[in-house]
Amino acid sequence: MRKKTFLGLTTALAMTVGATAAMAENIKIAFLEPLSGAFATTATMGLAQYQFAADTLVNGKGGVLGGDNFEVLGFDNKMSGKETLVQLQVAIDQGIRFVVQGNSSGIAHAITDAVKKHNKRNPDDLVLFLNYSAVDPALTNDKCHFYHFRFDAHAGIKMDALTDVMAENQDIKSVYLIGQDYSFGKAVAAAAVNDLGAKRPDIEIVGNELHPIGKVKDFTPYARKIVASGADAVITGNWGSDMVGLGKAIVEAGFKGPIYTYYAAGGGITRTIGAAGVGSIYVVQEGNYNPPASQRISDYITAFKAKYPDYDITQARITNTLEMLARAINTAGSATDINAIAYALEGMEHENLWGGKVMMRPDDHQLIQNVQIAMHTDEGIEFKLDNSPYGLLIQNNVEMAGMDFPHTCKMKRP
């Protein structure tokens, strides 16, 4: 009996060792997002996009360092700061050195602080945080550090691009700002007031309003006020059901002008807004693909839709995150020398899959890229969203948005 147990143990041990040896080829990336709970749709869709990008753009092209593959592993942070730190530690203990996250700037703050502390205490065992979606400007300003890189344009840069486009539209004489009553909603409103004041002082801000987040049942009264104010355009940072409710109510109340948004697309929103929003809902974001700028984009999306028919490419920046990491690892010649990889990422210029170039600004680790204003419509849409007839059509393209956008980062390098 004892002999048998011993034999079993040895076999198990041998298999574990074997498994570890086989896995050692893979460079693991921790995807730290709410894979359960109210925000699970966004996160699950994001993980699918990461795994597809890793397979197609990195592993399918021979991997990095002459044959190592990327492997993206999901860790569920349940949208809680505390759980995030626990899961981050789990990932680090498993030997994972690359963390990607983007949903919620609050969580991003928790991770960036934890990574900073970890790297200070473990200089021989560093971790790199690749933020692909959290757009609070502070992350690359006051809170910036050497091991944090942001691949999305932050809220201030997006507003800068949006107001550049609005400034050229002489039909817009007045603007109504409305947003959710919390830090992001306030940041959007403040940026809009500031940028419009600088670029088009003649534009009157006829309303600047915050509503309770996730508490408003009926947006009609807000919509009535917007119509009554006589505004030519609306700007909002709303997301989720607050975005759908507000968008539909404004259009139904008889508002005819453009509604500029950050997040009115994908995840069911495009399908729900449907016909009501055609020609009035605009979204400011990077990596729009209607009309596709190249055959490569078409092929990529077609292949993605073939594999995940229910999902869409909603976060184009994910491809840049992985491609640039792969290039940095190749340049550094090692997947473990985090300092060398971070130095390789700094200032890296990269051919964006979605068209144009991107550049990782070395001073604050903010990716500078083209930002587009796109319109919700069903005409001329090659790649639709939510399996609906609607999608986003590019109206304006701001090249290298925020190239000289000021920052307050004082980067300390090892």
Partner: protein, 318 residues
């Protein structure tokens, strides 16, 4: 003037929607003494059922079938769930309905996922019926007003003018006597629960396209429905109607106003401090009425409870 008129209409739409929810809840409470925490969940079920039916058979059949399904589900819950729990007293009943609310939310997420459903009003009603100034009034809203008014009148007629209504009213106050007279009181209870949940379902069917069909819709309306029946007086249909319209008007006008508390402070002769972070009243100086609109119904509830503990039309303590 236009603005006030438009907001009265909007308030009416929202208020009548609340009424459809609270009518069922208040009937159920007055009859069985059960505060049905899952009531708003039946409202959500109504919206999702109607969405699913509308994909295959169109909006109108959904309007007919979905409330029926929800009513049958509600009656089933009473017959096989609540009735068994009833003998153990009120606390287990509360816990049962609370658990049911959580269960329904999970079930909805399991089948339909977490994102918002594209449940929209029918093409026929998708136009602007008339405009007041620049404000468009959608035909669908007028349709909502008529449906809710119809429901109210029907309920009032059944409860006060028919034999069934008399049995229900009698069973409310003297269940044992009614039973002794040969009426099947448990059957009446099941019927009332079924009709109450069907009303909630109907509210969901017509509110889904306007307020959105998503897993959070039950929580969003759940608490406000309780506030409504407490203000109106538990068990009173008229009370539910008046309180619903009151809350509808209150929240609509609060959200539509542009009142700043700073104006009030200035009118009181105070001066705006240069550095707000130092001021005791920093929050008041930056607050506007729309920001606190959603809590006003709760303030109203507290006031009503202080002045009239029975609620506006109620006959017993809340």
């Amino acid at each position: 003037m236009d603005f006030i008129l438009v907001n009265i209409i909007d308030g009416l739409v929202y208020g009548l929607l609340l009424f459809m929810l609270s009518a069922g809840l208040t009937l159920i409470f007055s009859m069985m003494g059960v505060l049905n925490f899952a009531h708003a969940s039946f409202y959500m079920l109504g919206a999702y059922f109607a969405y699913q039916i509308s994909i295959f058979m169109g909006f109108w059949l959904g309007l007919l079938i979905a409330p029926l399904l929800v009513g049958i589900a509600g009656a089933g819950v009473e017959r096989y769930g609540l009735r068994r729990v009833h003998q153990y007293g009120h606390v287990p009943e509360l816990i049962f309905t609370f658990g049911l609310a959580l269960l329904i939310e999970e079930v909805v997420q399991f089948f339909w996922g977490k994102s918002q459903m594209a449940y929209v009003e029918p093409e026929v009603l998708h136009f602007t019926l008339f405009s007041i100034g620049d404000n468009a009034i959608a035909a669908y809203k007028v349709f909502m007003i008529f449906v809710s008014m119809g429901i109210f009148l029907t309920l009032l007629y059944i409860l006060t003018r028919t034999r069934v209504g008399m049995v229900i009213q009698a069973a409310l106050s003297y269940p044992r006597t009614v039973e002794a007279l040969g009426h099947n009181v448990p059957m009446v209870f099941m019927g009332v629960f079924g009709v109450g949940t069907a009303l909630a379902g109907l509210a969901g069917v017509i509110a889904g396209p306007m307020l959105g069909t998503f897993p959070g819709m039950a929580i969003l309306l759940g608490s406000i429905v309780f506030v409504t029946i407490v203000i109106g007086g538990l068990g009173s249909l008229w009370g539910a109607l008046v309180a619903s319209l009151l809350i509808g008007g209150l929240t609509t006008f609060a959200a539509a106003s542009s009142f700043q508390f700073a104006d009030l402070l200035l009118a009181l002769g105070m001066e705006r401090p240069a550095d707000l972070s130092e001021s005791m009243l920093a929050d008041l100086w930056t607050l506007s009425l729309p920001q606190i609109g959603p809590i006003l119904p709760y303030v109203l509830m507290v006031l009503v409870l202080v002045i009239r503990p029975h609620g506006l039309f109620g006959k017993r303590d809340a």
